[in-house]
């Protein structure tokens, strides 16, 4: 391969206008201008989605795993059509809970392995931008997988899963799962035991989500009215709000050295 000579004899790199680059970092106090913050979050989300479109690593792994889990449940539970309806919610949520850990693990491992986490930490933005960026892209991946699993399950078992109430529950559950999962995966990726640690850390903590989501889903699928799931929706929302706030506050502390 011909090595292109590096042009060192001309004046390299015109200086950036003072409002760019280092200027931007300085004029905004400590890089905390809200504009930069949002830009950084969207840069991270965009970067994750772009990379995923190229490689399909995360979504394909999560998807295949989900389908395998459903397959196993199919044979493990051996149900007649009537009882199947009552376990649908449980099977779905178990599937999402397990498959989710794959995506979370991989998403953080990508950052850690090529030192990219340092790259993110070196940028003059608030650490929480990294948290929100990763949490949103993790959420996006989960939702994509769920969006594929739902129709597949519907077809396989002849159950209509496309009810607005159910979709709402899945969305709320996924938000909470991502919020906590991003924090915990950022921790587990920095330990010796890495991948295997994440499910152990995450699953006991997201139990309220699973409980509420399954209860609500069951009620919706059984055709009961909205009122009876109000309580569970509140639980989901409360969990999401509280845990996201706590995770966001604590995120700084896990990146220190």
């Amino acid at each position: 391969m011909a090595v292109k000579p590096i042009r060192t004899n001309r004046r390299l790199l015109s200086p950036l206008p003072s409002s760019e680059g280092k200027g931007a970092g300085l004029t905004a106090v400590g890089g905390r201008s809200s504009n930069n913050f949002i830009k950084a979050i969207s840069a991270i989300v965009w970067k994750d989605l772009r990379a995923e479109v190229r490689s399909f690593e995360l979504v394909s792994a999560m998807l295949v795993f989900s389908l395998l889990v459903i397959l196993i449940f199919n044979f493990a539970l051996e149900l007649d059509i009537k009882t199947r309806q009552s376990v649908t919610a449980g099977v779905l949520w178990a599937t999402f809970a397990f498959a989710g850990t794959l995506g979370l693990n991989r998403s953080m491992a990508i950052e850690k392995d090529r030192g990219c986490l340092d790259g993110l930490l070196l940028a003059p933005v608030d650490r929480s931008a990294i948290y929100f960026g990763k949490a949103i892209s993790n959420l996006a991946f989960m939702l994509i997988v769920e969006a594929i699993v739902l129709p597949v399950y519907s077809i396989l078992y002849n159950i209509n899963l496309f009810q607005p109430g159910l979709l709402m529950v899945i969305l709320l559950g996924s938000i909470g799962y991502s919020a906590v999962g991003t924090l915990l995966s950022a921790m587990s990726v920095q330990t010796r035991t890495r991948d295997i640690l994440l499910p152990i850390l995450l699953l006991p903590v997201v139990l309220p989500l699973i409980i509420a989501a399954v209860q609500a889903s069951n009620t919706i699928l059984a055709g009961d009215d909205f009122n009876s799931i109000k309580h569970w929706l509140n639980t989901l929302i409360a969990y999401d709000v509280i845990l996201t706030a706590v995770a966001f506050i604590l995120f700084d502390y896990i990146l220190e050295d």
Binding site: I6, G21, G25, G31, N36, G119
Partner: protein
């Protein structure tokens, strides 16, 4: 530009940096030498604001670490032996990502300039995972210079590079240094360091054991200087 006073870094009960005093004037190119485990990477990470000092003062471009870390970061460009690049993105996309992270708005022209400077203009749309190590390292330097930092920190940049790639890196480093930036580079490779640096400091047993400018040293004496510093 860089001022380090009585820096101490402990990991639990182990002290890696005992009391480091280190001053760098603007425009200097300092080669930080030392054996493995001397704490060079730890020291550089502290300068890069990735790690907090246990005790002592670190000031870069007038900003104190760790309190004013965010301001410091915008004046720093860091290259380590890991590429800090995303394999599934193209060279251009990587630079675009970092440009956005650093708040650079008109980045199109800048990215082209950078790619030309490091000789990767023709590969701009290729995915980084198809790049050789040398190319990745050059792109990494491009990434580090993107936001026009005053201070550059290089941690063992030549690791894993072959002869060709190393001489290309030489050219890029010289170009970067010629632009008036302040550079601190850690290295095992005395010959390379000799060529590039204006000053040589030796980190040994947690302190700066010796320091000499290239004028004070005659070329052939760098090895002797280094060995003496380690022994003493």
């Amino acid at each position: 530009m860089i001022s380090v006073k009585k820096l101490v870094k402990r990991f639990g009960l182990k002290t890696v940096l005992r009391s480091v005093d280190f001053e760098v004037r603007p425009g200097e190119f300092v080669a930080l030498l030392g054996p493995n485990g001397a704490g060079k990477t730890t020291f550089l990470r502290i300068l890069a604001s990735l790690s907090r000092p246990s005790l002592g003062e670190v000031t870069i471009a007038g900003y104190r670490l760790p309190h004013e870390a965010a301001q410091v970061r915008s004046t720093l460009g860091v290259v380590s032996h890991l590429p800090l690049l995303y394999g599934d993105l193209s060279a251009e996309e990587n630079l675009r990502f970092y440009a956005r992270m650093y708040g650079i708005t008109n980045y199109r022209l800048r990215i082209t300039e950078i790619l030309e400077m490091v000789g990767l203009e023709t590969r701009r749309r290729d995915l980084v995972r198809t790049f050789s190590r040398g190319m990745q390292q050059r792109l990494a330097i491009g990434r580090a210079v993107l936001h026009d930092p005053d201070v550059m920190l290089f941690d063992e940049p030549y690791t894993g590079l072959d002869q060709d790639a190393s001489s290309m890196l030489d050219d890029v480093l010289k170009a970067v240094a010629a632009q008036g930036r302040t550079v601190v580079m850690t290295s095992h490779d005395l010959a390379r360091a000799e060529d590039l640096a204006t000053r040589f400091d030796v980190l040994s047993r947690g302190v700066i054991a010796a320091s000499a400018t290239s004028r004070q040293l005659k070329k052939s004496n760098l090895l002797t200087f280094y060995k003496q510093a380690l022994a003493g």
